[in-house]
């Protein structure tokens, strides 16, 4: 979800710009080390490809169609650093040329989709890229990338005081889940068609530090789960996050979506708020562990 300008409160958009800037700078340095300058136009071309690929309709029945987002596809074919850079470039062009996403909100959108989204896409692939688990890993990565981006976006909106009632949140998350599944399915389908053409387009992730990474990822998931459990015992901390989500009675009857009539009974806003926080935390931790893992791996290999 591309957040336009005017939606995020000043502390939120400013903080996200402050978070995105060093992340992107780090990823740019990483990518520049991994890629020769003569390959930079290729990155641009692949960015244009994703842009164009987003125009192609994938029919999913009932007259609707889905579209590829692309973070996972990029992560698997270019590697995570280059993929993040290409996604960032895509978001910049979308914001500037197509007014899809704000300019002050670029930090938020970039962090959500190009940093966290790509990290989430890459992590499962990094862990399980060989043998039978590969396609499920790609699916999971694509799935998580959409979900991570969406959850972060919703969290930022809620923190900014944008009202999203119970029903709205429920429906939104339902939509996000559907989109995430679609992304997973489409990504796997495209990867398969690519491999049929030329197997070496899909990079094998560098396998250094695998054990370390696996351990760190496991720790991250454990931490997030524990975090959510702890938080549910202490709702105060998350009150602000879920605060805006409380008022929904009137909205329920009047809000229509493509999934009109779909209601999540008993899906309390608090639960969603916590889930959002937990997932956001997980993604942030995953990104950090990935970076840490690489650091450790590099130290070992150097």
């Amino acid at each position: 979800m591309h957040i336009p300008d005017g939606f995020l409160s000043t502390p939120v958009w400013a903080a996200m710009n402050l978070a995105a800037a060093p992340s992107v700078a780090y990823l740019a340095r990483r990518a520049q080390r991994e890629i020769e300058e003569s390959r930079i136009p290729a990155l641009g071309v692949m960015g244009a490809f994703v842009f164009a690929a987003q125009m192609i309709n994938f029919p999913v029945g009932l007259g609707t169609s889905g579209h590829l987002l692309g973070s996972a596809l990029l992560a698997v074919t270019l590697g995570p650093a280059a993929a993040s850079i290409v996604m960032t470039a895509i978001l910049v062009v979308q914001a500037l040329v197509f007014q899809d996403g704000g300019v002050l909100a670029l930090g938020a959108n970039v962090f959500n989709m190009a940093v966290a989204g790509v990290a989430a896409a890459y992590l499962p692939y990094r862990l399980w890229s060989s043998g039978k688990l590969r396609n499920p890993a790609i699916f999971l990565g694509a799935f998580l990338s959409v979900l991570a981006g969406a959850v972060l976006a919703v969290a930022e909106l809620l923190l900014s005081g944008v009202r999203m009632g119970q029903t709205v949140l429920g429906v939104s998350f339902g939509l996000f889940l559907v989109t995430a599944v679609l992304e997973g399915v489409i990504t796997v389908a495209v990867i398969r068609s690519l491999e049929a053409m030329r197997p070496n387009w899909v990079r094998a992730p560098d396998s250094s530090g695998r054990l370390v990474l696996g351990a760190l990822a496991g720790a991250a998931i454990l931490l997030a789960v524990v975090g959510v459990l702890v938080a549910s015992a202490d709702p105060d901390g998350l009150e602000r996050l879920a605060g805006g989500a409380g008022i929904a009675a009137r909205a329920r009857n009047l809000f229509t979506t493509p999934l009109a009539g779909y209601e999540l009974r008993g899906f309390g806003a608090e639960w969603l708020g916590k889930a959002a926080a937990g997932l956001a935390g997980l993604v942030a931790i995953a990104a950090t562990t990935l970076a840490l893992g690489k650091l450790i791996a590099r130290r070992r290999g150097a």
């Binding site: 300008d5 244009a48 192609i56 309709n57 850079i85 470039a89 197509f98 300019v103 053409m197």
Partner: protein
């Protein structure tokens, strides 16, 4: 297509087109921050900001209706959220969402429609964006037109060959779509290889030649001063109401 129109506009001529890109970028930032930090956006403030934009559009010799209409692409999204917030008992925010998102989009459009994107990207680099990103943006933009045309052709071709009966062949069409994306990837990859060869053939030595940016001159500073003053005037004078 939208980006084709914007590109053509951006290579026109006007007092705004002639301004140095970095000053335009800074002026844009001042305007956007003014709008973003305006609590609530009263009608007066909205009119004030709109007035500044209209003056800019007029000076840039771009079609007023065209620019204002294209900025409206944000509206469906903001209006939906606005409706939610209105119904949730926060009409002030509802108005703010629509007004701010529209005004911001229009401001961005104005600057991008008067500045060739490669210059905008270089201005960004000069103001701190990592060089790699600025370069990727430029090449992405350069090939956006070519690749999106290809995708358009494929869409049409696929539509011509798709089974007419709704519901039938959905799986087939899904796989066809995946194949189309795959082919697009292959062509893009081949194109990237071709560009690489063309670069080497012309003596690329490992680093893109640095492009020197023009120095901002007095008219540029005056423009920046004026744009910033106007934005802040609205923000402080009327926006705090």
């Amino acid at each position: 297509m939208h980006h084709v129109v914007i590109d053509r506009w951006s290579r026109g001529a006007s007092p705004i087109h002639a301004r140095e890109p970095r000053t335009k970028l800074v002026a844009l930032a001042v305007f956007l921050i003014s709008v973003a930090t305006t609590p609530g956006v009263s009608p007066l403030a909205g009119a004030g900001y709109l007035g500044v934009l209209i003056a800019g559009i007029a000076l840039s010799r771009l079609p007023l209706g065209g620019v204002l209409a294209r900025a409206a692409v944000v509206l469906p999204f903001s209006a939906a959220f606005a409706a939610l917030n209105w119904l949730a008992g926060d009409p002030g925010r509802a108005v703010a969402l629509v007004a701010k998102s529209y005004l911001s989009a229009a401001a961005v459009l104005l600057v991008v429609a008067t500045t060739p994107l490669e210059q905008f990207a270089r201005a960004m680099e000069s103001l701190g964006t990592p060089r790699l990103i600025a370069l990727v943006v430029q090449f992405l933009y350069r090939y956006l037109f070519v690749v999106s045309e290809q995708a358009q052709h494929m869409r049409v071709a696929a539509a011509c060959r798709a089974p007419r009966v709704p519901g039938a062949g959905g799986g087939l069409r899904f796989r066809a779509a995946a194949g189309a994306v795959g082919v697009l990837f292959a062509r893009s990859y081949a194109r990237a290889e071709g560009i690489h060869r063309a670069m080497l053939a012309r003596g690329f030595e490992g680093r893109f030649p640095a492009v020197a940016l023009a120095r901002p001159r007095l008219p540029d500073f005056l423009f920046l001063l004026l744009a910033a003053a106007l934005s802040l005037a609205v923000r402080i004078g009327v926006g705090s109401a």
